[in-house]
Amino acid sequence: MKIEEQIIRLLENDLSANDRAELEKLLEENPELKKERALYEQIILAIREKGEAELRIDLDGYLKEYIEGKERKKLIPFNKYIFYGGIAASLSLIMLFFYQTKNNADITNETPMMFEINEAPVHADSATLERDSLQNVSDSLKKAKSSVDNF
């Protein structure tokens, strides 16, 4: 393994205790290697910092989104009476609609039968009544005439 790779693994805590001790001793003795470690340390730090800088941009978006969402909710406050009243009104309208539709369907299907069943007796009854009342009138007139004649 190259010394640079070893330095990187040292910074990542990825060396065995023995290798670590050996490398640290080497770094103490060699200022150039020590400088190399400092350089990689700064590069890794910059990578983390850049990641966080990009995350900050995303977080600004989340914050904006959250605040805007809350403000939208504030504009239309939740009112349980309006909410449940709305549901009740909707249900009533749906029921009324179905009731009306059913009635229309019944009328359409049964109208001929109703006329057939109801109309005849109604006509028959009224005709009988009319005939009976005419008969009664005629009888009364006849009675009255015969009484006049007898007199």
Binding site: K34, K35, Q42, I43, A46, K50, D58
Partner: protein, 187 residues
Amino acid sequence: MTEANIIKELKNGNTSVLKHVYVHLNTVTSFVTKNSGSREDGHDIFQETVIVFHRNAIKEEFLLTSSIGTYLFAIGRRMWLNQLRRKKIKIADSEIDQDLTAVETFEFELPQFSSPDLGQKIHKILDEVGDTCKEILQLFYFKKLNLEAIKERLAYRSSQVVRQQKYRCLKKIRDKVSKMPTLIQQP
């Protein structure tokens, strides 16, 4: 989404789940506004709180012993109190002494660069080394995914190939940085 799922997704490198922690925004903001801060201060503190939460949640040893809300509040509260101390603004002692035993210790800040503009220069180099290098390095060092997970995610043949690729990318950056004069100081 459950709190356990949020932690799990963060450990898998999915930072978009952080949008779910914004339900706790008001808790932190209220603390700040009640203690000499503005609403904007509260939002800034919350954003930093989420960064610290992410930084800790992706650590292998991280174990959440309280709810995410309590954890965020503890971080935010301590951050704001530190900021007030720096500005030398005094608030009631009871606030400072309040104990939040449910919360583990957490890392607040990254170490500092040896020279002020070195970070910016390496950021620029990172943008120049190509998307593959940038992605591998960020998945490994920022999102803390292991080599096996990166292999799966980026469809590499083996984790050894990922390790080699990562090494080559770091070396590429190192060579570019070392060409910049007097940036790295002796530790």
